[in-house]
């Protein structure tokens, strides 16, 4: 299970990283393994305001649908359109081409509340 050191994590298995003015969000390697074959991603609406911990996208495997929660509050400024045709990128490259959306954080201090890679590793191993 891959857990890059430079990212921050949520209990609900999202990752986030600040890149300039925005934050990029995706699901973790652990989450994609649990989901198995991702076959559909319902992306968030552009421009939508979301709260930290709020539902904002849906990832579906053959078997089930699971919600993606936003790690931070803010405005959705970009979504990964490639996932419309290649949802399997979430399985093959969850920390790269399989990113899900970008958010303009309204409260960057929220980042401090998220888990580090070491903390997330313990959570994932315990679940």
């Amino acid at each position: 299970m891959e857990i890059p050191k430079e990212l921050k994590y949520t209990k609900t298995h999202e990752w986030v990283v600040i890149r300039g003015e925005t934050a990029v969000v995706g699901i973790t390697d652990f989450a994609q393994q649990e989901l198995t074959d991702v076959v559909y991603v319902e992306l968030p609406e552009l421009g939508k305001e979301v709260k930290a911990g709020g539902e904002c996208a849906v990832v579906e495997s053959v078997k089930a649908a699971v919600d993606i929660y936003s790690p931070l509050s803010g405005k959705i400024v970009k979504v990964n359109e490639r996932l419309n045709d290649e949802p399997q990128l979430l399985n093959s490259d969850p920390y790269g081409d399989g990113w899900v959306f970008e958010i303009e954080p309204s409260d960057p201090a929220e980042l401090e509340k998220l888990m580090t890679a070491e903390e997330y590793q313990k959570t994932a191993e315990g679940s």
């Binding site: 198995t36 074959d37 076959v39 559909y40 319902e42 579906e60 053959v62 078997k63 649908a65 419309n84």
Partner: protein
């Protein structure tokens, strides 16, 4: 099932865990959900071959001088014309015409039958059979003393053929025989739940692991894959085969579910007959196939709508691995059941466009069952369980 009842395990349980199965609880059993992934496993059955452990399914032997007479009153299908060696897809219904289970009855001899039932109903069915049988009919519940495997896919006969000395060309669709596979006594049936060519193999639990390994070894040159219940569900759904608990249950009568072919109305006396006819006439709903126009995925219980009105409910839905599109079976009001009708499925609050399509959703390329295929109606159903 109450929580303090321990889960049942297949004789292959240790094998599954050693081979990376993700296990799930199903009908009181712990069985593999998947090995390499549902999509990969699904496509292996459509293109090559796959092996399922379906030992959770119930197996019941019925014998004695009144066996035929009793079963004729209990099951919906006429068993009299079925010669020994034939398998018959049938239903068990209650007096109200509600479906207790869908089953396959193997006619072993004049008065000897072997019945495969759904795991979730195995105990209920056994009790029902007992309750409705004469003292001279003997019933044996073999559900935990026998294992059951399904070898499915176009390469199935090439694989199974290596293990038997008798030609498989003699074993046609929905026929079975007692056979020896590498020396292990089995009941070998040309049946399945995937739409592909294939076999269901009943074997003594003590021989299960050895026979399983022989099948895997024989399958190596034929791209045989291990399969879990996840792929079993997507494969049956592409064929629009009913699953007990989803499309059919005690609150559904056979004609509503499109299971006309599993009922012999010519047989004048069997449990539920009058109610089945009456409910068939009275019922305002029918089971249909829906194909989604975008990539969103319908799931059980999602509402089916026409304009603002709710006209039905999804019973099973998935992303079809063969078609790459969302498909569903749904009960809808009859007037919305015409092929080509445009409806909506409400998915997380959004109406997604869906079309009523002919079923099965998928036509297997290697379809060796010309006679059976020609007889199959366009409505959803299930030739097996």
């Amino acid at each position: 099932m109450s929580q303090d009842v321990p889960l049942l395990h297949s004789p292959l349980d240790a094998f599954h865990r050693e081979h990376g199965a993700r296990m799930i609880e199903f009908a009181g059993w712990e069985m593999p959900l998947q090995f390499s992934g549902i999509v990969t496993e699904h496509l292996a059955v459509r293109r090559a071959a796959g092996l399922f452990d379906i030992s959770h399914m119930g197996q019941i032997r019925v014998s004695g001088k009144t066996a035929l007479q009793d079963l004729q009153r209990i099951v919906t299908k006429d068993l009299a014309p079925a010669k020994p060696g034939r398998a018959v897809y049938s239903l068990l219904c209650n007096e109200e015409g509600g479906i207790l289970d869908d089953i396959i009855v193997y006619r072993m001899a004049e008065n000897e039958f072997f019945i495969i039932v759904n795991a979730v109903n195995a105990t209920k069915d056994f009790e029902w059979l007992k309750e409705n049988s004469s003292k001279t009919t003997e019933l044996e519940n073999l559900s935990t003393s026998r294992a059951l495997f399904a070898m499915q896919g176009p390469n199935s006969s090439a694989i199974v053929g290596q293990l038997t000395s008798q030609p498989l060309s003699d074993l046609r669709y929905f026929r079975f025989r007692s056979d020896m596979l590498r020396g292990f006594p089995v009941i070998l049936a040309r049946t399945g739940y995937t739409g592909e060519d294939g076999f269901e193999i009943s074997v003594e639990s003590d021989d299960a692991v050895d026979l399983w390994n022989c099948l895997l070894e024989a399958g190596k040159p034929f791209e045989l894959k291990l399969l879990g219940l996840g792929a079993r569900d997507t494969l049956r759904l592409e064929m629009a085969y009913s699953l007990y608990g989803m499309e059919i249950s005690e609150s559904v009568s056979p004609f509503e579910a499109g299971l006309q072919k599993a009922v012999s109305l010519k047989k004048t006396d069997f449990i539920g007959r009058d109610a089945i006819i009456r409910r068939g006439k009275e019922s305002r709903r029918t089971l249909i196939g829906l194909e989604l126009l975008n990539r969103s995925i319908p799931r059980p219980h999602f509402r089916v709508k026409s304009g603002a009105g709710v006209v039905g409910k999804v019973t099973s839905g998935t992303m079809s691995p063969s078609l790459g599109r969302g498909i569903a079976l749904a009960f809808v009001e009859k007037k919305f059941s015409e092929i080509g009708t445009v409806l909506d499925v409400e998915i997380r609050g959004v109406n997604r466009c869906a079309i009523v399509v002919r079923t099965p959703f998928w036509t297997p390329r290697v379809y060796t069952r010309s006679s059976a295929a020609a007889k199959r109606s366009a409505s959803p159903g299930s030739p097996e369980s």
